[in-house]
Point group: C2
Chain length 368, copies 2
């Protein structure tokens, strides 16, 4: 996707082996790229959320392994690099997968070959992510096209999204935003309602920023506003991402997603969830009971960062000093509220049968 | 209610005729009272939202008329005071009512008697508001007691509220919070989930502050979190306020109320709306079509005020410079999602029949 008119990915290797990323903690106020030169740099980038979003974390971890091998290709370093990276965000599924994949690949090789192979595989992991997201974009575009046809191809299509499941969360294209970027290419007039997504404000900071850079018309709204907009016919469809989807189609995503799904259902607005298939957890079925919800630092609720009039970035406190806060980070949207799951193989119903129609090879795994 | 352990109203006259208020724009970071000495002071206090909340605005306007009469009790001043105050917040129903009431009362009097009569009537208006809110507290307490009985009087009662319909919005007691304060007096163990209520954050700043001062256990949450809490059985009932309720029980309230009502309905959590009867608009029936929704300054979404680490209060920008924002201030919750309306005459169903059972004298007005 574009930054200041120039196509760019969220992570890329330089000819000298350094790995460049966008420091996402500074967005939307500053656009800064950072070069990761060592394993420690890569671990820090993941831990401090300079890179975030499951697919991008996976890619950054793969490159972290490559950086470690460039420095010291011993078995001891291979083990240490894996441990170090795994400890950064212990619950991220893609992180674990990418590290295991690199270890499996590199262990049997003689140390002299490890670094080159690691860089090559990290680049492949990035390309695979891009290909999956492009396919999600193509599939999801179908949903936008249907809405556009329904409207008699007049006016514009209004999409509401929550949090950031855009290219910043992946290597390129994004998941929930990929269909929007694809539709933009075809010339369908689009406008995106961007939930600010308290408490971390990924919508107001990241989604708004990447849509602006890509030239997609959009409007930031308080998370409270979406229901009202749907009541008044101002939303044609919702597309969100997901952190984990059960075999029965229940969807865990950023806190507040469930409220938007309820409003969409109440107002007959189609509600889609975009997901790369590795996000499907075939081993569980009841999302509400089986998906543990991370409780994050209450200071994410009581304080917020923004830009002061002098241009500097500061944190301010919003609540009384002694008022406690709670901060559940995700919620679960039951499958019954989801119109369809947008995967790299197409759109299916949010149900066991729907998912198995696209992923028949998972029938055994989903039987549990 | 209490501030630092001392009982206090939100507005009161001093012996010398000055009128004291709490400057609510500084809460929760600073507690400052301000003396209004002139009509201009009163108009400024309402316009700048040092006082806010429909009942408190009405009381402040009544005292504004008294301050004007103290200065100059002429007919010309009576007209000018009414015009000045009416222009401060043109859509507030209680504001207009209080000004008309004072004008009706003062016009026939000889100028020499006007100031004293004005102060007396303003004080009565305050007392009437307190009496209404205490009655709402008593009625709403019934709903809390029912929940407490259902729970076998074990644990605690968790109430979720949105925005601020507390004593800060009224002269004392509040509307949505009055039942909570009443329950606290009886010793029922209570805990309140406080929606921060973006974009103006009246929950995080005002509701949290007054609950803390009153010693009611509470936790501030992002507006996104309430659905998740209800899914997990952590909310026993919701109580919110309203700006306008239709004759059929549709409820206009702060943006985001509708989303919480949907979640309450989906999880079988009772959802109550507390309202003084002057808030009922007997002339309209379909809230979604007939209640105009104020669109406020988008900077309330793109910027936020808070306290810097050095103790000073500052505004910070949250969004990219060129990303537009929209800011609808209210939404309408359809009557079908409302368990009951808590009025000063008791609790009724959110329907024409329900309302007329408590207010039979309105049958003619509601026929329209």
């Amino acid at each position: 996707m574009n930054v200041a008119g120039k196509p760019m990915r969220t992570i890329w290797a330089e000819a000298d082996g350094g790995v460049d990323i966008i420091d996402q903690t500074l967005l939307p106020h500053e656009f800064v790229t950072v070069t990761l030169a060592t394993l420690a740099d890569a671990a820090h980038a993941i831990k401090s959320m300079q890179v975030r979003g499951a697919p991008l974390i996976g890619a950054a971890a793969a490159y972290g392994m490559a950086l470690a091998m460039r420095d010291d290709a011993s078995d001891a370093m291979l083990a240490r690099a894996a441990d170090t990276l795994l400890a950064t965000r212990p619950t991220a599924v893609n992180l674990r997968w990418a590290i295991e994949e690199m270890r499996r690949l590199l262990s049997p090789l003689p140390p002299a070959q490890r670094a080159a192979r690691a860089y090559a595989r990290a680049a492949e992991i990035c390309d695979e992510d891009v290909a999956i997201n492009r396919a999600i974009g193509e599939a999801g575009f179908g949903a936008i096209e249907t809405a556009w046809r329904k409207k008699g191809r007049r006016g514009r299509i209004d999409v509401l999204t929550h949090c950031n499941a855009g290219w910043l969360a992946t290597v390129d294209w994004g998941t929930a935003l990929a269909p929007i970027y694809r539709a933009q290419e075809t010339g369908i007039p689009l406008h995106v309602w961007v939930d600010e997504t308290r408490p971390r404000n990924q919508g107001a900071s990241l989604t708004a920023w990447e849509l602006r850079e890509q030239g997609v018309p959009h409007t930031v709204i308080a998370d409270n506003a979406g229901g009202h907009l749907m009541q008044h016919g101002k939303v044609d469809l919702c597309i969100v991402g997901t952190d984990r989807t059960t075999a029965s189609g229940d969807v865990a995503n950023k806190i507040g997603t469930y409220l938007k799904a309820l409003a969409a259902y109440d107002n007959k607005v189609p509600f889609y969830v975009a997901l790369p298939s590795p996000t499907i957890d075939w081993t569980i079925s009841d999302g509400m009971r089986e998906i543990p919800i991370e409780e994050r630092d209450p200071r994410e609720v009581t304080e917020i960062a923004g830009r002061l009039p002098d241009g500097s970035v500061a944190r301010v406190r919003l609540t009384p000093e002694d008022s406690p806060a709670a901060n559940p980070a995700f919620d679960v949207t039951p499958a019954r509220l989801v119109t369809g799951l947008i995967t790299e193989r197409g759109i299916c119903a949010a149900s066991r049968e729907g998912l198995l129609s696209l992923f028949p090879e998972r029938r055994e795994a989903a039987r549990a």
